[in-house]
Symmetry: C2
């Protein structure tokens, strides 16, 4: 129950004890970050082993019946989140209760149907995560610079809103206010539908001849990377946000069908145009995605040829450091069995020529430049 700051010069905005229900990746990561800011964090989890791990790693201390939190953060799996929110609102009537579930409307609807008083509840969703879950993967910094959606509605008291936004700011996240509907439609578009598409595309590789897959390159790998995600979690997420996902999947299935029809009858009126529009529409859409620090367009890339050894990459980054180049993004191109690699480096446009000159004078071969 302290607001002393452990990090010099840093004072937590959240003033009071925070209770975290569910000590998995998100719960433990929030615990780590708040604890580092001097906030008193009380943890609980249905799994004693998970709870022990989170506490041992410094995410907080074990919750007790005597706790009097100002804020409860529910970090349970999606299928129990409404039950837990209801229980926490009852157990801690003076606390603001939030949750971090990746779907916002369904738990709200469930709580309203049960007639739960939601004055003290405000849903939120930090757009943060890792491919691996659990307390063991927790890290205080996974929220840094990431969006943290806070779902206010007309009834939300400003005290609750301010407290959850303070939580986001304490974790170095960027609070974004949306309605639950806006949130759910948005994540359907940029997260849930891409997951379904990547999974179904990758599923077509499951029974494909080995020889066919031997021709796969970086494009196939990138397009299906997230297909490695957990079925248990995703079945819950997709079920909880079914309406906007279904809407998008129907549109996408229609688009696929239209391209298939256009390719089937290439001389039909508009057929070539349908195909071209699909690829052109993709050009437009992909350009609108935010990149590392905003839009991709802010950076240009250059490609350096490297022997595929860490020593070479060490020398390259050493040289880039000497040259004062700030690397905005980096990608090592795959090439099965190849002894050579291609290091693609993104820099601000003004840095392209000095970087090329500097690297060339140090003996590096530049394969290409341009965005």
């Amino acid at each position: 129950m302290t607001t002393d700051t452990l990090v010099p010069g840093r004072r937590a905005r959240v003033d009071g004890s925070v209770r975290i229900v569910g000590a998995g990746l998100l719960g433990s990561s929030i615990g780590h970050a708040l604890s580092q800011n001097g906030v008193d964090v009380r943890l609980t989890d249905t799994s004693p082993a998970q709870l022990r791990l989170a506490i041992d790693y410094g995410a907080g201390s074990a919750a007790t019946d005597a706790d009097d939190p100002v804020l409860v953060v529910v970090c349970t799996p999606p299928d129990v989140v409404a039950d837990v929110i209801e229980a926490e609102l009852t157990a801690f009537p003076h606390a603001v209760v939030t949750d971090v579930a990746s779907v916002k409307l369904e738990p709200l609807r469930a709580l309203r149907e049960r007639g739960v008083d939601l004055t003290n509840y405000i849903g939120s969703h930090p757009l943060a995560g890792r491919e691996r879950g659990g307390a063991i993967s927790a890290r205080a910094d996974i929220f840094t610079g990431r969006p943290w959606v806070v779902c206010r509605d007309g009834e939300t008291p400003s005290r609750a809103l301010a407290l959850v936004e303070a939580l986001a700011l304490d974790l170095d996240a960027v609070p974004i206010e949306m309605t639950p509907e806006e949130h759910d439609r948005s994540v359907a578009l940029v997260s849930h539908v891409p997951q379904v598409v990547a999974s179904l595309l990758a599923a077509r590789f499951a029974d494909a001849p080995e020889q066919a897959l031997s021709l796969a390159g970086q494009g196939a790998r990138d397009t299906t990377r997230i297909a490695a995600s957990s079925p248990e979690l995703w079945v819950q997420i997709l079920a909880a946000n079914a309406d906007p996902i279904v809407e998008q999947l129907d549109l996408l299935a229609n688009d696929l069908r239209a391209v298939a029809d256009a390719l089937r009858a290439p001389d039909a009126p508009g057929a070539r145009r349908t195909t071209a529009d699909a690829i052109r529409g993709g050009n437009v859409g992909v350009e609108r995605l935010p990149g590392k620090h905003g839009s991709r367009r802010r950076f240009e890339s250059l490609v350096v040829m490297v022997d595929d050894t860490s020593g070479q990459l060490g020398r390259l980054f050493g040289d880039l450091g000497d040259l004062g180049v700030n690397v905005e993004d980096f990608r090592l191109e795959h090439s099965p069995g190849a002894p050579l690699g291609l290091a693609e480096i993104a820099v601000v446009p003004a840095a392209v020529q000095p970087t090329v000159d500097g690297l060339t004078s140090r003996g590096w071969r530049i394969a290409s430049t341009g965005d």
Copy 2:
């Protein structure tokens, strides 16, 4: 017409002059590689500017009427490839003619319909390329370690097959024999269908609210990266390989529809199972894709926290070099606006623990390990 080797200890397998028709990315890259191996390369292109650029950069010399090539490599856009193959077979009746088009059945069908004598023709397809095209982006090493499909059929004389395989080997590619049908079905699955899917998915972002796109993360970016591809080229490729693409698109549209139906009626028999199977099938498929040096499973990854500066990456790779760690793959995780980054490093399983120990003792924070 020399077989002297410019690279010490290296002797080109292709014995004689090579004529390259089309001095774009692939034609110029082949020219560079062969020229470096001491092969006499003669280039031609319908664009004098492109030809001049390729020659200036060292891809070969300008073709003349007096040339007597042993091998002609047709590197034109897909829509004219059959015409050019026919013209080359007529102009150089003693040469073997191959092409590098990414679709193999359609030009063959067109040539057969015209009654062209195909004894000296053998199609091929190097699975190499770059996001940027043109002679200016050409590089001798883009074929290194990549598959190079050679499409033999019953009538293919072994001399022609041997010569095209020699070309692939001279370019450090890996020749793979397939029938044109096998090839086209394979690239439909691992290249053409992923392109259509990524484009249509990204096209849904074209009119999306800015706020929705602000929630996009690495998953959305990876899944749609190839949507930045050229519409001109892809309209041609898709049209030329329509049959196997349409077949896959229909299956995929059905799969999308099935998941949409399952989400629409979650209590219908088998609904939950349909969704789970989609995600699980994706798990299986993505694991089968070849990685950098074969399957992904051969490597495990560890994630190191780095300040987002090239100096830090330089120190990291320097330390990895000192520790004798061979980095099999590397990925810098994006985080909009974040001052911290995550460097994901793939190593052979036996190297994980020594790498973690070595980096930790040098003050690095390891965020996680595991594959």
